[in-house]
Amino acid sequence: MSELDPLGLRQADGDRSSVVAFTFEGRRLLGVEGEPIAAALHAQGVRVLGRSMKHRRPRGLHCVADACPSCAMRVNGLPGVNTCSAPLRAGDVVGRQRGVPSADHDAFGVMDGLSRFAPIGFQYRRFRRSPRLFERWERVLARLAGSGVIADERAARALAERSRWSTGAADVAVIGGGAAGLAAAVAAARAGARVLLVERRDLVGGQARVSGDAGERARVAELERLVRAEPAIELLTGATALGWYAEDVLAVAVGDGMLELRARAVVLATGAHERPLAFADNDRPGVMLGGGVERLLRAHAVRAGRRVVVATTGDHGYALAAGLVADGMQLAAVVDRRPSAGDGAQAAAATLRAAGVELHADATVAAALGRSAVTGARIAAAGGRSADVACDTIAVANGRRPARELLLQRASAGGLALHVPAAVRQAVDDPARPVVDGWWLAGGVGGTETLEAAARAGEAAGRAAAEGVA
């Protein structure tokens, strides 16, 4: 199989791994049980995971954080499954949702070329005087639209039968099992609270768990050990808190069911989302967020590609690149929008230079080259010159923004006077103070940027939350 195929590596990695067979569009493939379905596909060279809705552009693995729809596929008869997080099981039947005859060669790919005939908002101008034509057009549109097909009857019936609605309670609920959440759970438990720790992934530790910095990985491993050793903490993985509702009820999707969670205090430690960068064709399969490349490599032992260009706006891009080189990946270039690398990047830059990686400062990735997979990056220097560099992966490192969706949801209704940016600022200044009655913010969602700051904020918030309910 391909160079990306790390099956041997993953088998050697530990006893937890077991190889299972699954079906992808009629082909029998192998993967590691429990790894994300998309990781198994990516490892075997499947880069196009679907097609976009209107323009039918190819879509591939992008965030590896269950935060975008780029990897949505049909799995076991159900539509819209985000395969970057859905764990692989033996016998899974996986397929792409759009594409005639297939997502690799989609006849409707011509829609992309026709897009100038359908600019944004065109539907309000066209057909306004001819209802009959509009009706016909709508029927055509309906055939083109739609991500997935509704579930197979059998799959739907089975899902409805196995899904459960349950209720739960805790003194302190901690949402997010990154460094801040782990530290908050430990501190709250030590202060005497019954704690429920909710983590959307199967693995706790957040981004630090897949960091290129061994010290960071060790730090969260230690926090995880403390959490698992603490009898007052119940750890719920594969569980997504997807709503903060009236009367402070949290909705947590757990497997196929829903947990209606009432906690006396809540620490939101939902972390941060990686920011993408705007450049031409930044949606091509092979353009990924840097954290996604790291997660794929260090959590799942899958290389995102053979040759990587890092596009960055900060020192963290150099750390990302140096870490990937240290773990055996080939880097073509680091492209930094700033006039020069910052002080924090000098060591990594030296390592990269020694490894033969081109470092471009005062330059941007202007475009991704290639159609159904990235074949290169067009690098534009400040002077206006541009050059193409061959690569199959463009890793974007453009910083993070707080994952504050739950806060925004709650702030928008319910007569609650909550100004979200102010709440985030307050959490930065004093993580021990609740942002609203009974609710604390800690870690990336509360504006911290380093692992230690996140852990400290988590500890302060967790202790305060437990004392609040004591």
């Binding site: 809705m53 729809p69 159900l78 539509p79 819209g80 539907q123 309000y124 101008r125 066209r126 057909f127 306004r128 005087r129 209802p131 509009f134 009706e135 709508e138 549109l141 309906a142 055939r143 639209a145 739609g146 991500s147 997935g148 097909v149 509704i150 579930a151 197979d152 009857e153 799959a155 739907a156 019936r157 899902l159 409805a160 899904s163 609605w165 709503g243 509702y245 009236a246 009820v249 909705a251 829903m258 209606e260 949801q409 209704a413 319910g414 007569g415």
Partner: protein
């Protein structure tokens, strides 16, 4: 960026008509008044056009109801819907994919079937679908819920933002001023007549004020010293990720107290109602409602299991005791008009706006709109409409 049709100019000192509320009612009424030559009109909104229920509803349109009053009014509307895009020069994305009200129990079948002679008599296009025909029309629906239904093949749904934009642009072209972030704070009356309204900090002289403030109509009426016996009511609705077409017409189910349709982009949009009155009176969303919607829509369309809800929101309406709108003048205060109390306001707007504009200009109501006057709420001669998807208190009904 300015909102479509919204003026950037400050309010002037006087207008012939001030319409409070720039929802679909207020904006459509402004447009219809301008068409009748009353062009010195201001439509003022505390937020922006469509911020309330007009931008939050289920977008569905029909005219076949159980009462003569509703059926006649909404049929004027449905006829207007068909020509609306051409008239406004803006595609409202009205899709005449049909609308079916589904009965499940024998009692529901009986109640719905009783309407058909009424529809015949009024010249309203409708048909009865039996079990077999319903299953053909709704192949993805659970067959055991489909005992029969009232079908209108020319009804359907539209896009609520497009309808607002279309009306707002057309009204603005005729000289109507739409002001956003301009809340009505007070209404001045003297000698039993409207004299002026206070909008924000500005006093605006006008002989006519129309109350089209949706969920806030009771409070705005009280500013003029007029009593409006309504109750604010929270409704919730959700939309799923886009799915390939499995449902063509709009559907309402009496048994499930639910209504839904699938847009041509593929999203499934639907709302349900509880048997009990929802206690909230601001725009919260509740997990209880999300669960109710998930349960009922998976019951109605079993293959929706696993489809992801991408948005869930709420809106407020102001219910009258008979759930019917209040249209026309307030007898206590000359110059104060109601365009209030709507629950089915989106579908009713094109017709009601046209008829109410004529009432305001001509001083007497068309027979179609006359039964909706406010007097009925004080005399207790309520409209008996039994084919709407609302939790009707059995004892009261």
């Amino acid at each position: 960026m300015p909102l479509p049709g919204v003026t950037q100019r400050p309010l002037r000192d006087r207008y012939d008509v001030v319409i409070a509320g720039a929802g679909v009612q207020g904006v459509a009424l402004g447009y219809e008044l301008a068409k009748l030559g009353v062009r010195d009109v201001a439509v003022v909104d505390a937020a922006w056009p469509g911020a309330g229920a007009s931008g939050r509803n289920g977008e569905m349109v029909r005219s076949a109801f159980a009462s003569e009053e509703w059926t006649r009014l909404f049929d004027v509307s449905l006829r207007r819907w068909h020509g609306l895009s051409a008239e406004l020069d803006f595609n409202t994305l009205f899709t005449p994919a049909g609308y079916v009200v589904v009965a499940t129990s024998d009692d529901e079948v009986r109640r719905l079937r009783e309407q058909l002679p009424l529809h015949r008599r009024l010249g309203v296009r409708s048909a009865w679908l039996d079990e077999r025909e319903l299953r053909e029309l709704l192949p993805a629906a659970a067959p055991d819920l489909l005992a029969g239904g009232v079908w209108q093949d020319h009804a359907g749904f539209a896009h609520h933002d497009a309808v607002l934009w279309g009306y707002a642009r057309a009204a603005a072209r005729l000289g109507v001023e739409i002001h956003a972030h301009a809340p009505v704070q007070g209404i001045e009356t003297a000698g039993g007549r409207v004299q002026a309204v206070t909008v924000g900090a500005k006093r605006v002289v006008t002989p006519i004020v129309v109350n089209a403030t949706g969920a806030f109509a009771r409070e705005v009426a009280a500013m003029a010293g007029v009593e409006l016996p309504t109750q604010r009511y929270l409704l919730e609705i959700m939309v799923t990720e886009s799915l390939q077409p499995f449902l063509r017409p709009a559907v309402a189910s009496l048994a499930l107290l639910s209504y839904c349709h699938q847009t041509s982009r593929g999203e499934f949009v639907g709302g349900t109602e509880f048997k009990a009155v929802n206690p909230y009176d601001d725009m919260v969303v509740t997990l209880e409602a999300l669960r109710d919607m998930a349960d009922k829509f998976v019951r109605l369309f079993p293959q929706l299991a696993g489809a992801r809800v991408v948005r869930h929101w709420s809106g407020l309406v102001d219910n009258t005791p008979d759930i019917s709108p209040v249209l026309g003048p307030a007898p206590e205060v000359d110059g104060f008009f109601f365009d209030s109390g709507w629950t089915y306001g989106f579908m009713g707007a094109p017709g009601a706006a046209q008829l109410l504009a004529r009432w305001i200009v001509e001083g007497r109501p068309d027979p179609v709109i006359a039964p909706f006057g406010v007097e009925r709420l004080h005399t207790g001669k309520l409209i008996q409409e039994g084919a709407i998807v609302v939790p009707i208190d059995e004892e009261a009904a």
